[in-house]
């Protein structure tokens, strides 16, 4: 039982770490894309201007509610499903 709890804890820690890394990565990708959009729309105010920073901040506010960032929660589901799948295939086949 202790080993089982240790497995769950270890899996949870790994998933949380992976989730945080992926979240930073996805936000970074989106920020970069928004900056590019601003630069093409406003060639006069291109570069790291206050206007662009405000635009990016405004556009990123709802990011956690988008489908992409909700799908990110699958990080907490898929490995557990894989573990259950392995348990099934090894022991009940």
């Amino acid at each position: 039982m202790a080993a089982f709890i240790r497995l769950i804890l270890f899996l949870l820690i790994a998933e949380t770490l992976f989730y945080l890394l992926l979240r930073v990565y996805l936000r970074s990708l989106r920020t970069e894309r928004l900056e590019e959009i601003w630069d093409t729309r406003h060639p006069a105010q291109a570069g790291n201007t206050p206007a662009r920073r405000a635009f990016v901040r405004r556009s990123m506010t709802g990011f956690d509610k988008t489908l992409r960032s909700r799908l990110l929660l699958l990080v907490f589901v898929l490995p557990n499903l894989a573990v259950m799948g392995i348990i099934y295939w090894i022991n009940w086949q």
Partner: protein
């Protein structure tokens, strides 16, 4: 410095290959000839090739463990020996706790040379006679003939997932190198 980097890279690649070769399941076509338990001494030198402690393994005072074994013959006539141990919830992550059932299955599938029943045994690990290590059998499937070559789906899927993760981490690292955690400076 350049040669050092190359050497370290090559060593790392070899270590990774050996690790995957050990931990991923492999399939072998064999004919099971015998199944038995034997008191086996698990010493410091080969302990990592056996199941971890407290996976339901019992050791006596002399440090010997009662391990189930499956003896087999390959189509080319060479012999092979599997062990059959629970891995429990510990490394490697096979979560196997049906070794008693597997042993019963193996015993049921025993056959002799005149009337062979070929089976495909899925196992992980290495047979190193000088260290007394044995691959751990995970599952047994019956085959119609020894020429049948069942696909090793599990290992293929794990390799694909690992490659995808590697590609993802490579992209993440590139993005981090380009932008860091904050905003772009330019």
């Amino acid at each position: 410095m350049h040669y050092l980097k190359v050497a370290v890279g090559v060593l790392f690649g070899v270590a990774l290959f050996l690790f995957l070769d050990y931990a991923l399941p492999s399939k072998n076509t064999v004919r099971i000839t015998n199944t038995y338990n034997r008191l086996t001494s698990v010493t410091a030198s080969n302990a990592i090739f056996y199941a971890s402690d407290n996976t339901g393994t019992v050791e006596n005072a002399a440090g010997q463990r009662d391990v189930r074994f499956i003896e087999a013959v390959r189509p080319n006539g060479k012999v092979f020996v599997y062990r059959n141990e629970d891995t429990g919830w510990i490394w490697p992550p096979y979560f196997k706790y049906d070794s008693a059932n597997l042993q019963a299955e193996a015993t049921n599938l025993r056959s002799d040379r005149n009337n062979p029943q070929w089976v495909s045994v899925t196992a992980y690990g290495w047979r190193l006679p000088w260290l007394s290590t044995y691959p751990n059998a995970v599952s047994i499937d019956t085959l119609a003939s020894p020429d049948e070559r069942p696909r090793n789906w599990a290992a293929s899927i794990v390799c694909i997932v690992l490659l995808a993760l590697l590609a993802l981490f490579w992209r993440m690292w590139a993005q981090f190198r380009e932008r860091g955690f904050g905003r772009r400076k330019a």
